[in-house]
Symmetry: C2
Subunit: 227 residues, 2 copies
């Protein structure tokens, strides 16, 4: 039934403690995504992770702590993948539309992570603010490049994020298909003042499919026990 989650894949080479911790985080991510943070109990997380209930408390103080770890871990990985995909791209329209499309595609490729991330952004305002910070540079770059005619401030960025979040949600619920990313990216560009023709052209350009192939972290040892 339970194929390995992404946190476990990332931790395969690590020590036992880290692997167990990863199992708990995968279980938590899955449950948060499917039921929402509040509906999930510590017991349930332990059960899905297939560890004893006491084991949970060895790794996390409480549900909030694991939620933070899950949110942070997912965000970190998604940002890493986005940065990687965008290193060579200079054009602000390309960059923002790539970010939106990949973000929304998370719902298709890794629905548990997508769902958990969605919930997390609603729960942790810090996280939303990080996202806003992350996007600010690219949106302002568009203004500098003369392609975005809307002045960029927190309201504009927040609305830009809301559009992507709403789309992620719609995709998670199966209301829309794989073309949603391009559709929404196009609407975002139009909102920012890009002419319709141009917006369509950029938003529908082919991009390599998103694959979150996890690279296992290097082995570490328990503290105070260096080989």
């Amino acid at each position: 039934m339970s194929s390995k989650g992404l946190f476990v894949s990332e931790a395969v080479l690590l020590g036992k403690s880290a692997r167990t911790r990863a199992r708990l985080m995968d279980a938590a991510a899955q449950l948060f995504a499917r039921q929402g943070f509040e509906a999930v109990s510590v017991n349930e997380i332990a059960r899905v992770a297939e560890v004893a209930n006491g084991t949970f408390y060895v790794h996390f103080r409480d549900k909030d702590e694991i939620a933070g770890a899950v949110a942070f871990g997912i965000a970190q990985e998604v940002v890493r993948q986005l940065d990687e995909a965008m290193t060579d791209i200079d054009d602000a329209m390309e960059r923002t539309s790539m970010a939106t499309r990949r973000f929304i595609d998370l719902a298709g490729s890794e629905p548990d992570w997508g769902g958990a991330l969605f919930r997390a952004v609603l729960t942790f305002q810090d996280l939303r603010e990080s996202v806003i910070g992350y996007l600010r540079a690219d949106l302002q770059r568009g203004v500098s490049q003369g392609v975005f005619t809307t002045e960029i401030d927190d309201v504009v960025i927040d609305t830009f994020v809301s559009m992507a979040m709403g789309a992620l949600f719609g995709r998670l619920n199966g209301r829309f298909g794989p073309e949603l990313g391009s559709r929404v990216a196009e609407l975002q560009l139009r909102m920012l003042g890009v002419p319709a023709r141009k917006a369509a052209k950029v938003a529908w350009r082919e991009i390599p499919p998103l694959e979150l192939h996890i690279r296992p972290l290097a082995k570490t040892w328990p503290v105070g026990r260096q080989p």
Copy 2:
């Protein structure tokens, strides 16, 4: 401490049963708004409503039932107020921007209702679909009138809704002030193809403040006991 909620205001003239039911719904709305649906217990609702725990079960089967009643009740009232405010308006830009602005202003004037509605739209997909249905006519009217150049379909409407929902959320969290409604309405109009100048003009037009002044419902009597 506990000033009357809107459901109670609406029920002041009704029989005792209806008034108690309304107290429970006000308590539930407040708690759902502040903590999210799943985090709230039936016990807590009864405590905040200042009724005994068993009383809850006289009026509702379980938490889902009261959540549905709250969501439906709020949605109904908001729609009523919106319809009332828009009866005389023909212009699609005016109508959609009025709807967005009033909706977002809910967060300022009635944060408990705003918060509960926000959570409800995430929880009950039916509700989101009702909202989409509600907006479709006005958005299509804009196309007919030649002011919206973007073709209207479910993706566009859903994105339009996401922008308003995200703004409601931002306002609820105190990240933005009263001008947010106009800001977002303007961005929506630009997304739909309205020229920047025109969009700004419409979205910033003065509108009468939203006041959800509840009109008490007419008295009813217990079944099988007509006077």
